[in-house]
Symmetry: C2
């Protein structure tokens, strides 16, 4: 597939799943870090070594008869800064990989559920994503690819340590399991700090979806294991499963309490967010994310009808700078992005819900960016 195909869709098809968890869990991700014996880690290797690693990996994937999905290969250096940014915004590549100037490439499955980063921090990063809370399904897919590649490639593995990785925090299983959760009620009731501290003591991390900081753009948090060594893959998955379930329970409880004690205030918050997104002419990512989070909460609590969760997911992705600029077909300075973001979100929510904008006026009837 052409790179454009991966850039034009805000959300992949695998996102469209609704189950018992999809009011809280947005997606689940498994990542396996692997390296090849005989080559230095990307931090220290030569361009020639990088090339050899890349050729070995791409051949292994191309030659495999057992991989059912079709994979598309892209060298990062061949992508424009905007294209790289969009792949980061879709969580298909890491910000670190996007910065590579010489080495680094990506193999993407057609449905975007699997991406294999080559020569990022490690020689290989196998990443599998599912909608909602499906740790086992995501792990099975990652494990299958891992098993296939392990037969073709000399993975660096020591009996005492397990899989060797560039950063010691990934050594052992090389496994990171992450659950992306929407936790507005826990955030609103000020319980997140306590949860983040408790998670840290359990060897887990909770952080915002973008960046390394704990900023929680749109009340979305990523819960993942910190420890990769001294535990089996099954133990790690079981721990994350149990911890994520507890957080889900807590969020449900907090939502229930809010509905019980402050339904009107909650309804006010939810509808104000809708009023802002359907009317504002200038919107920063931060404000838009907060509004989308509030509307999502309103949809989940059935305070608002007629807006699909999928539309909100699409908005969350497509309101990001790279996506917006791709959409506008032009590089936009930040102020202009805020204008286009407001236009795009207004359009998306009006299209969802009604044939005409609430009150006619300048710039309402057409949507030209």
């Amino acid at each position: 597939m052409m790179i454009e195909s991966f850039l034009e869709r805000a959300t992949p098809t695998w996102m469209g799943v609704e189950d018992d968890y999809s009011d809280i869990v947005i997606s689940t991700r498994i990542r396996l870090a692997r390296n090849l014996d005989g080559y230095r880690f990307p931090l220290a290797f030569t361009e020639n070594e990088a090339l050899q690693v890349e050729q070995a990996v791409t051949h292994a994937i191309k030659d495999s008869t057992k991989l059912q999905e079709n994979y598309s290969y892209f060298a990062i250096k061949d992508l424009t800064p905007l294209q790289r940014q969009i792949l980061v915004e879709k969580h298909l590549i890491s910000p670190q990989l996007a910065k590579k100037e010489l080495v680094g490439s990506i193999l993407l499955s057609d449905d975007e559920s699997t991406s294999i980063m080559v020569n990022e921090e490690d020689h290989l990063r196998i990443q599998c994503m599912t909608a909602s809370f499906q740790l086992q399904k995501a792990y099975e897919q990652a494990n299958k690819i891992d098993r296939i590649l392990e037969k073709a490639l000399p993975f660096a593995f020591r009996d005492t340590f397990g899989y060797l990785t560039s950063c010691p925090t990934n050594i052992g299983t090389g496994l990171r399991a992450s659950v992306m959760m929407h936790l507005p009620a826990l955030t609103l009731t000020g319980q997140m700090n306590q949860i983040i501290n408790a998670m840290t003591r359990l060897g887990m991390t909770v952080r915002g979806i973008y960046g390394e900081g704990s900023e929680n753009l749109g009340n979305v948090y990523q819960v993942s294991n910190q420890i990769t060594l001294g535990k089996t893959e099954d133990d790690i998955l079981a721990d994350i499963q149990s911890v994520a379930e507890k957080i889900i329970q807590k969020e449900r409880h907090a939502r229930g309490k809010l509905m019980e004690k402050a339904e009107l205030a909650l309804e006010d918050r939810v509808y104000r967010a809708l009023g802002t997104l359907t009317h504002a002419r200038i919107l920063t990512s931060e404000e838009a994310a907060t509004c989308l989070s509030n509307i999502r909460l309103g949809v989940d609590l059935q305070l608002i009808e007629g807006i699909k969760a999928m539309t909100l997911n699409e908005c969350v992705v497509s309101m990001q700078p790279g996506f917006l600029q791709n959409y506008a077909g032009d590089v936009l300075p930040p102020a202009e992005r805020d204008r286009v973001r407001a236009e795009m979100l207004r359009e998306a929510l009006f299209r969802e819900n009604m044939s005409k904008p609430i009150i006619g006026g300048k710039g309402e009837d057409s949507f030209d960016v």
Copy 2:
């Protein structure tokens, strides 16, 4: 007419005038303070004196063949606290008169353009209002009533001082001319303090419409003369006319500059206000007034179409606590008022502009308070 007739309408018929000033000037008011010779001022008089004053005034009005309008008489003590509050909110009586427990009454013309307060701070306060900027018209009406009553009643007048009044600040002409103006652009650009200071030096006052403070609920200010002594009525009117015209010019200039330099930011402000009023479930008077002011500015600058200035005028009056409670048919605690206010404003703006709310949901389809 029954008191209910005066309470159910948010805006009187005389408000529905649109002219070259009505984008900025909401209304014009003339007030004449008069007292009767032979009776002490209300501050010091006996209940018996109060009764005699009242009888003299009401008879003078009833007996006059020259007053074309029909006047309804109400004793303040016969009105409920809620009824008094609504009359204050409509600017038909002063907050001081509303507090009277024994004496004090009001004579209201059917169209509400004229109200004569009896035994407030002075024995008589003749108040005439017009829409927009019509100082001369309002003065002529007040003057006509003054001339008629002067023939029937022994007005306290001394050649050296002019009309005697309870408070020295009203002595002389007893005339206060006030122009109520919507000055959002001057407020937004931080020019109001400078204007208020300059006005004070010219013997004028600029203040918010409610209360004595300079708080500017909804960016509405009342410009009026401070000096009543040592100038003729014509001079006072000419001064106010000239000063108000300068402020109107400044506001127009500030609006033009805003449109030129920050149209998008202005459009954003205006539409966000509309989004808030059409979606919020809880609204304080302050926030509602600010939003109505922003929408009004948007209508005046043609950034929003389809909303009538009259609807906004009605909203400004009917969102006040007394009016809201009359509307709800019940005494409401403040928190409940904020809920009913949000419901009422949503309803008013939806009714104005569309057959159905933007996004269906709880409490949107019916309006029961």
